[in-house]
Symmetry: C2
């Protein structure tokens, strides 16, 4: 019988943040690809686009005019998925037809007035302004009695369903803990109760010793490919200190967070010398006014590209019906990212 080698043998890994397993098939990384190619993202955008509804001074589809904003700028989403109305509904007891009205607030955050300036190309000081805005939003939205969770995220690139290349993200704040957050809530809580420590702090300590999955680090944050990563170049930014949300971040930590966000996204752009698509988002403590000592601030990056700027990983058939699956190992992905230059390819 052969002895297990994680660089050769199919295996499953456990994600302690969701309680779910993923399948790793390291031997399969070399199979040929004859499928769909993504079209390359437009690399030569203007600084200002008169047809863009996010550029300063332009009109949005509801007739409102954007101010001449100079830094990160937030406004209510014109096509919100959630509404803040309080809706009366009978309690519904049928186990097979369960539903509940959901209240919430959706906002859009422009990262920069500049139509073509994404996070990896921004100054750290301007990324700090985005973080400051996120912090104020998390605080303000979380104060509503009907808002128990604030999801801050970005869809970057057409392949990630982003309908406008102007650098921006979104905030969806709502009454319930969304499904994925609820899984993490449960897992963090269980771990904290059992060990009286933060799951991610204990995890980070071990990762710092093992080193092999670390991509970048500074005094306050670490960016790594998690042991259980599902997307080919998935990463997480984890705070070294154990705290639950943006509100708890010191000034120095915010600067370090801006630096590592720039650092990891520069690596991403450098990987295939393209504006690297991803969905990213912050997972932090619920805003349900309870104490959440189990929460540990972190940010996920879920990028779809696999082999080049035009060949992506598809999470389809087996993945939808069975289990998330990857070919390249997380260790290999971390090594590739780690060895990439820290200067953006356009600035070299």
């Amino acid at each position: 019988m052969k002895t297990f080698d994680r660089n050769e043998h199919p295996h499953r890994r456990y994600n302690p943040l969701t309680g779910e397993w993923i399948l790793v098939s390291p031997h399969r990384a070399k199979r040929p690809w004859q499928g769909q190619k993504e079209s390359l993202s437009e690399d030569r955008l203007p600084e200002y686009d008169p047809g863009c509804y996010l550029c300063p001074g332009n009109f949005r589809s509801n007739g409102e005019q954007n101010p001449n904003y100079e830094h990160a700028y937030v406004f209510d989403n014109d096509f919100p998925a959630l509404l803040s109305d309080d809706i009366a509904s009978d309690v519904n007891t049928d186990a097979l037809f369960r539903f509940q009205p959901e209240r919430g607030i959706n906002r859009v955050v422009c990262f920069s007035p500049n139509h073509n300036l994404t996070i990896p190309e921004m100054y750290v000081a301007d990324i700090e302004k985005i973080i400051a805005l996120w912090t104020r939003q998390y605080l303000e939205l979380g104060q509503h009695d009907f808002i128990n969770h604030v999801q801050i995220f970005e869809n970057k690139g057409a392949v990630m369903g982003c309908s406008n290349p102007h650098p921006h993200g979104q905030i969806w704040a709502q009454s319930s803990l969304p499904t994925e957050v609820e899984k993490t809530q449960r897992q963090l809580e269980k771990y904290y109760r059992k060990n009286n420590s933060s799951l991610l702090q204990d995890y980070l300590e071990q990762e710092m010793q093992r080193e092999e999955r670390i991509v970048l680090s500074n005094a306050h944050f670490v960016a790594l490919v998690p042991f259980w990563a599902t997307w080919p170049y998935e990463t997480m930014i984890i705070s070294r200190r154990h705290f639950g949300s943006l509100i708890a971040m010191s000034h120095d930590e915010k600067r370090a967070y801006a630096e590592i966000m720039k650092g990891i996204t520069v690596k991403y752009d450098n990987l295939f010398e393209t504006s690297f698509p991803y969905s990213s988002g912050i997972h932090q403590a619920p805003t349900d006014k309870a104490a959440h000592p189990e929460w540990h601030f972190h940010m996920h990056f879920y990028p779809p590209l696999l082999r080049s700027a035009s060949v992506r990983k598809f999470m389809v058939g087996y993945e939808m019906l069975g289990e998330a699956q990857r070919d390249i190992t997380p260790e290999k992905s971390a090594e590739i990212l780690r060895q990439l230059p820290d200067i953006h390819y356009k600035q070299r």
Copy 2:
């Protein structure tokens, strides 16, 4: 306070097969779309393509030659994600770095020798031959002592990561219950223990009375948009009789299953008059040699298209970090599908 109206108000619905919630935003169906358009699928493929590695008589990349098969044909995947070797591994006890070697077998199923004949355009008798082949595979693979689950699925269309338009599906058989199946196993078992009946039988009974989500039905099967559907035109085929797997299907049931598979895929193609992409797959009893009275045979269809042959739903940012989200209600989708013709648009 307004009273809840599921056609107007944002709400969450509970999926009893996974135990997870999804977000429905019915008021949002009219937002404009400025994002990525999918390229249309090639509608004029030849019946035989000398460069296709699945066509009869052609050579595959490993040098093997396909026989001149005339009906559904199965062979071992040349680039398997799973291997059947028995691998020795130390028991691994670290809660944050859990993994396990995984054994399995991957196969490819050509649905037809004809390079351009997808399921909606096939004769029912030929679809029955696919079902017969699936049944033999489920039986044969399930007999291995190291195979506890057999996942039969199809990725159709380039947008679903399908790298070859020749009509084909796959089978991934393995030692563990994959993550998604494990959720359903748990939910079906819990329900069966509590109610001493099949969750899907009880569900189907209520759906037959309510009618609004039924798309098609025959003597043995029903195709419907589940109350908790996440993809815009997601459907399920459920057997009327309570049985756990393909093995238990009578001859008449197999014919009815072939008919409803054709029926629902014809509706799909007619929706946007295009070869409709999807991932589909069968969920049935594990092959772990235990009795599974809780299992109820069903097939899922997860199609990405939303508004036209080129505008899809993206499950990205909020969906990856938070929760699956849809705009159009399942009831509306069912109504649209129900009203479509039963004859394929190319044959009209």
